[in-house]
């Protein structure tokens, strides 16, 4: 009998077949490696869908699509007084006098946090009652409401900004005011208890 017809893949030896399969395996691994590199070198979903921070400073209103936020006054304290009780802290109390105004329809502020340079977010304290930012106070469009918001932060927190949102569960792709707090150059820590002032409606 004559040998088979000549062709590229015919009459390969065992070693050549093994090398061919090994080569195919290396190509698959290389393709996966390139894919992994592309995934790592492009923004992940957390970055793609991050909140849109709107910069602001004390005294000027910051608009965040559905509401505006204005930082009126900043205080720091070792003790906060609320509902007749004193609340001390191992760090610092930061008390912000805020003004919020819904722009188009009724809403409530359900997220308030002070963020530091390390990216740590310190939410408004639940040691004191804070209806203005816990989602329970409804803001009517065009009617400004002012009130104190208290945060407890550790002493090593620096470069602070205050952020607010009407979205409770996720702030992905939401506009979020990011108001710089001027506390880094020598925080004046009030040794006397600082009382939280009442919420006021100020159209």
């Amino acid at each position: 009998m004559s040998a088979g017809l000549p062709g590229r893949h015919r009459n390969l030896g065992p070693l050549q077949r093994f090398l061919m399969r090994a080569g195919a395996l290396i190509l698959v691994i290389a393709a996966l490696g390139v894919g992994d590199f592309l995934v790592r070198s492009t923004p992940d979903i957390d970055k793609r869908e991050r909140a849109f921070l709107v910069d602001g400073r004390q005294g000027s209103a910051v608009e965040a699509r559905t509401f505006s936020a204005t930082l009126l006054k900043t205080r720091t304290a070792a003790v906060v007084k609320a509902a007749g009780a004193n609340h001390d802290t191992q760090g610092v109390w930061v008390v912000l006098r805020m003004r919020f105004e819904a722009l188009n329809e009724p809403l409530s502020i359900s997220y308030a946090a002070v963020v530091d340079s390390r990216g740590r977010a310190f939410h408004a304290s639940d040691r004191v009652n804070q209806p203005l930012v816990d989602g329970s106070r409804i803001l009517q469009p065009g009617v400004g409401v002012e009130g104190d918001v208290a945060f407890e932060i550790p002493s090593d927190a620096t470069s602070l900004t205050a952020q607010f949102s009407d979205a409770r569960t996720t702030r992905a792709m939401q506009a979020v005011p990011d108001i710089a707090l001027s506390l880094d150059n020598g925080v004046f820590l009030n040794r006397q208890p600082v009382a939280l002032d009442p919420i006021e409606v100020k159209p």
Binding site: G13, P14, L15, R17, F18, R21, D44, I45, D46, E49, A85, N86, H87, D88, Q90, G91, A113, R118, G119, R120, A121, F122, H123, D126, R127, V128, E152, I153, P154, D156, A157, A172
Partner: protein, 215 residues
């Protein structure tokens, strides 16, 4: 040398003649065997930790320091004045980068007789009693959240029926979470890892007479 080369060629030849399916089966069996060598086939044993031991559970570190049996203890109010509180005290430090507002899951009580809250199951299937409330020891404020970088002593409360046997010790589980991709949203998040929850057995100090005198 020539003989060795011949054996190598023969082995390579035999490997090359194996079908892809057989290669797959072989690699699978090998991976399972390696996994078995490192305990992958065994049932994960419960890993008890001691009182006063720092337990790093992912987004928080918990150190259980003791437990008390008390009467009514404001600001926590018993549903029936005859009942008692089992109070577990722990130092909790949030190590995640944000305020954590599900404090109840950090310390959960293992099933015990007479606890008013019926047990629920963790995602890993372990039955636990959810607490009735958490109180900051610093100022006796009822809290649901703690801040990162600010370790605090926290009291966890469970109501015990007056007819139940008085426990000399209780077992609590420290809830674990792991930072990984959330399969639902694709975002990175601290996800339930209750299969690795650690237990701590805590002696209970009877303080009923002290709380009865002060109330």
């Amino acid at each position: 040398m020539a003989q060795m080369t011949g054996i190598g060629r023969k082995a390579a030849g035999q490997l090359a003649q194996l079908s892809g399916q057989r290669w797959g089966i072989g690699i699978g069996v090998l991976l399972i065997a390696i996994s078995g060598l490192f305990g992958g086939l065994g049932t994960a044993p419960e890993q008890p930790a001691g009182v006063d031991t720092v337990i790093d559970a992912g987004p928080w570190k918990v150190t259980v320091t003791g437990a008390r049996l008390t009467g009514d203890l404001p600001p926590m109010r018993l549903s029936d004045k005859k009942n008692y509180w089992i109070v577990v005290i722990a130092t909790v430090e949030i190590t995640a980068d944000r305020t954590w507002d599900l404090l109840g899951e950090t310390v959960q009580l293992a099933p015990a007789k007479g606890i008013k809250n019926k047990p629920t199951k963790t995602l890993a299937g372990t039955p636990v009693h959810v607490n009735d409330g958490t109180v900051l020891m610093r100022d006796a404020a009822v809290i649901e959240q703690l801040n990162p970088g600010m370790p605090e002593k926290v009291a966890y409360f469970w109501e015990l029926e007056s007819t139940a046997p008085i426990p000399s010790e209780v077992k609590v589980y420290i809830g674990f979470r792991r930072y990984r991709v959330d399969g639902l949203t694709s975002h990175m998040n601290w996800m339930d890892d209750s299969a690795h929850n650690k237990s701590v057995v805590v002696p209970v100090v009877d303080r009923r007479s002290a709380t009865a005198a002060s109330s």
